[in-house]
């Protein structure tokens, strides 16, 4: 009963390094999302995907890339990490989007990323 799994849970990077955050869901959900949460702010959408092979920009996409090669996985990449990208990153998935009471987004437990 894993739900949404994020890897890694913690990571420290140096400015300019690259890395990829992995999100995996086992609920056969179509939609997947990447958010970031910063102190004193609500979750902000970075990128999302409405199905395998698709991606779209969210509210704060700059400095990030994503890929959805398989339905169950959604990857978030930082090509050249910057201190401003220090944050907690959450992945979420949902069966469908939109206002359906029985289809809320399910979240992973987050990846805490620090960039020095």
């Amino acid at each position: 009963n894993a739900g949404v799994t994020q890897t890694p849970k913690f990571r420290v990077l140096k400015t300019g390094q690259s890395m990829t955050l992995l999100c995996a869901q086992d609920m056969n959900h179509e939609y997947m999302y990447w958010y970031r949460q910063d102190p004193g702010m609500g979750l902000r959408l970075i990128h999302y995907s409405v199905g395998e092979g698709t991606t779209a920009k969210g509210e704060v996409p700059d400095g990030y890339n994503v890929s959805r090669l398989k339905k169950q996985n959604f990857l978030l990449g930082l090509e050249s990490a910057a201190p401003s990208q220090t944050s907690v990153y959450f992945c979420a998935s949902s069966y469908i989007a939109g206002p359906y009471s029985n289809q809320p987004q399910h979240f992973g437990d987050g990846t805490r990323l620090s960039i020095l």
Binding site: G42, Y48, G58, F90, S101, H106, F107, G110
Partner: protein, 112 residues
């Protein structure tokens, strides 16, 4: 520009009493609202939701009220329990959109 606002960063109540968490929104196109609960070191979990065609939705100890004219919703927890201590975030979505818009959250502490 914050479209979903939770103006109280924190709230403290006694066990057994009512907790009322508030949320305001500015975008009249939002037609569905959700509350998420988050414990430290965990992801948010869905708690309860309400459609804009309703003014109340109840699920056990949790009730959400929506006042569309005031663009305001509230989450009532009765009775409050120490295990309810968490950060509660309000979120809103427009019909046809994939994007949830979240408030900053309110940290609820229920004291035994």
């Amino acid at each position: 520009d914050q479209q979903v606002k939770q103006n109280s960063p924190s709230l403290s109540v006694q066990e057994g009493r009512i907790s009322i968490l508030n949320c305001d929104y500015t975008n009249s196109m939002f037609d569905y609202f959700l509350w998420y609960k988050k414990y430290p070191a965990e992801g948010p979990t869905f708690l309860i939701s309400i459609s804009s065609i309703k003014d109340k939705n109840e699920d056990g100890r949790f009730t959400v009220f929506l006042n569309k004219s005031a663009k305001h919703l509230s989450l009532h927890i009765v009775p409050s329990q120490p295990g309810d201590s968490a950060v509660y975030s309000c979120a809103a979505i427009k019909g046809g959109s994939e994007k949830l818009v979240f408030g900053k959250g309110t940290k609820l502490t229920v004291n035994p």
